[in-house]
């Protein structure tokens, strides 16, 4: 029987209250949202918080809305809400692509975007999605708020920029014209870790790419932002040859490990193929073409 180690528990009724509890209880306290990463980690003693602060009552952190030229997603927004959001589908269909293949529908009823990002599992899809669309995140502490890029947010495997007395409250994504995005993933079955997954976002201006983001999940020890692929494509006219080259770069820049899901050469090949597919689909969406 797997059971977490003994720990304390309290429910936060406000964001400030949750942060005050974090300050008071110190670094052995942890925020719990959906719990679908933390509780399994606690069962395995990979996480051993002495105190849990439950933020499931914080409805003020569950929203997807447009604010000027930004999309804003509250940290307590659950996977099922990301999957069903028309606003997200309109601007960043990459979220719905990813959500269709994150865990299974029952897990998606509980898990949250904030919890997924803070878990910072290298195989986690939303970290790649947020990197590709060049999101930033809002981190709040007793002193106030700070906004960091996804690059700054990802410190390493399972480690983020969120400090012991801080709370991730919001994800912000800039809305720019000519956007298209897509997520491609190959997994053995629902709920398994991906063999590999790739997120791509493009912004088209006239005949060329104004900007591009490509990020890999389950392809190395952390979420990989394929900066070289984005640099290759920026300012260029979309073409199959370019997608092929970008796939080649992503394949080179991936750092997969051999495991029961496949050997390294297979995974590298898969990263290349998925990158090409994601870019092709993101570009078609940006250009409003059928694919």
């Amino acid at each position: 029987m797997q059971t977490p180690a003994p720990c304390g528990y309290e429910r936060a009724s406000t964001v400030d209250g949750a942060i005050a509890s974090l300050v008071e209880l110190g670094p052995t306290a942890r925020i719990i949202a959906g719990g679908h990463s933390l509780i399994p980690m606690m069962k395995l003693r990979l996480a051993t918080p002495e105190h849990l602060i439950d933020i499931n009552d914080l409805d003020e952190l569950a929203y997807i809305r447009r604010d000027g030229d930004e999309l804003r997603i509250g940290a307590m927004t659950r996977h099922v809400e990301l999957l069903q959001s028309e606003l997200l589908a309109e601007h960043f269909p990459v979220f719905a692509d990813a959500e269709e293949v994150i865990a299974d529908p029952v897990v998606r009823n509980r898990g949250t975007i904030g919890g997924s990002l803070c878990q910072a599992d290298p195989s986690e899809d939303l970290s790649a999605v947020c990197s590709a669309v060049k999101a930033s995140v809002v981190i709040r502490s007793a002193e106030g708020e700070r906004v960091v890029t996804m690059h700054e947010f990802h410190v390493g495997p399972y480690v983020t920029a969120v400090g012991a007395a801080e709370l991730l409250t919001e994800i912000r994504i800039p809305i720019r014209p000519g956007a298209g995005s897509a997520h491609e993933k190959v997994e053995r079955r629902a709920g398994d870790y991906a063999i590999s997954a790739v997120s791509a976002a493009v912004w088209v201006d006239g005949p060329t790419f104004a900007d591009v983001g490509v990020a890999l999940a389950a392809s190395g020890p952390f979420t990989i932002d394929v900066v070289r692929a984005a640099e290759l494509l920026r300012g260029q006219v979309p073409s199959e040859e370019l997608f092929e080259q970008a796939g080649q770069i992503a394949s080179e820049d991936s750092m997969p490990m051999a495991d029961s899901r496949g050997p390294i050469d297979y995974k590298r090949h898969l990263v290349g193929v998925l990158t090409k597919r994601a870019l092709r689909r993101a570009t078609a969406r940006a250009l409003r073409q059928d694919i």
Binding site: T3, N56, R110
Partner: protein, 163 residues
């Protein structure tokens, strides 16, 4: 911690350690052992119950997190001895063999039927397969489970028409 959870319409109260999982609370306190405790890793789906109307895996929810909320288990499907159409569907279509996954499967499918009924239609086979993708059945090969859900959807629509 003192916890009160409304399970199948009745308040159930008990002092529990915060680390106590909802699945164990349900099985031990009111003794509702219909909810099965399987993989413990939110993979197999045997422990699926409804939490405030939504299917969740009760091995990955702490009982204290469900304090003040409503839970519906497989024992809450039948009303006054009358089986729920999903239960009859599983019987009619032989959708189980060993029965271990069955409570979770039925709770996931009940939620799907409710969701689609609100849209005024029956679920497609693809939607049924997606809804049960969080459950593992090692007996049926899933074919009969899909057939059972389809049977339940058709019979519910019929019952509604007659009423």
């Amino acid at each position: 911690m003192h916890v009160t959870i409304k399970i199948n319409g009745e308040d159930v109260s008990r002092d529990v350690e915060p680390r106590r999982l909802l699945v164990h609370f349900i099985r031990e306190t009111p003794g509702l052992t219909g909810t099965h405790w399987g993989c413990d890793t939110s993979n197999c789906g045997a422990c699926i119950v409804h939490l405030d109307g939504q299917p969740v895996k009760s091995c990955t929810v702490l009982a204290v997190m469900a304090d003040g909320h409503e839970v519906r288990t497989v024992e809450g499907l039948a009303v006054d001895g009358e089986l729920d159409p999903i239960q009859t569907g599983f019987h009619e279509k032989h959708a189980l063999h060993c029965g271990f996954c069955t409570p979770g499967m039925m709770m996931a499918c009940r939620a799907l039927l409710d969701e689609k009924a609100a849209e005024g239609r029956a679920p497609t086979d693809h939607e049924i397969r997606t809804a049960i993708s969080g459950g593992i059945c090692r007996c049926t090969g899933y074919m009969n489970i899909v057939a059972a859900v389809r049977w339940a959807a058709e019979h519910e629509a019929q019952i509604k028409q007659e009423a």
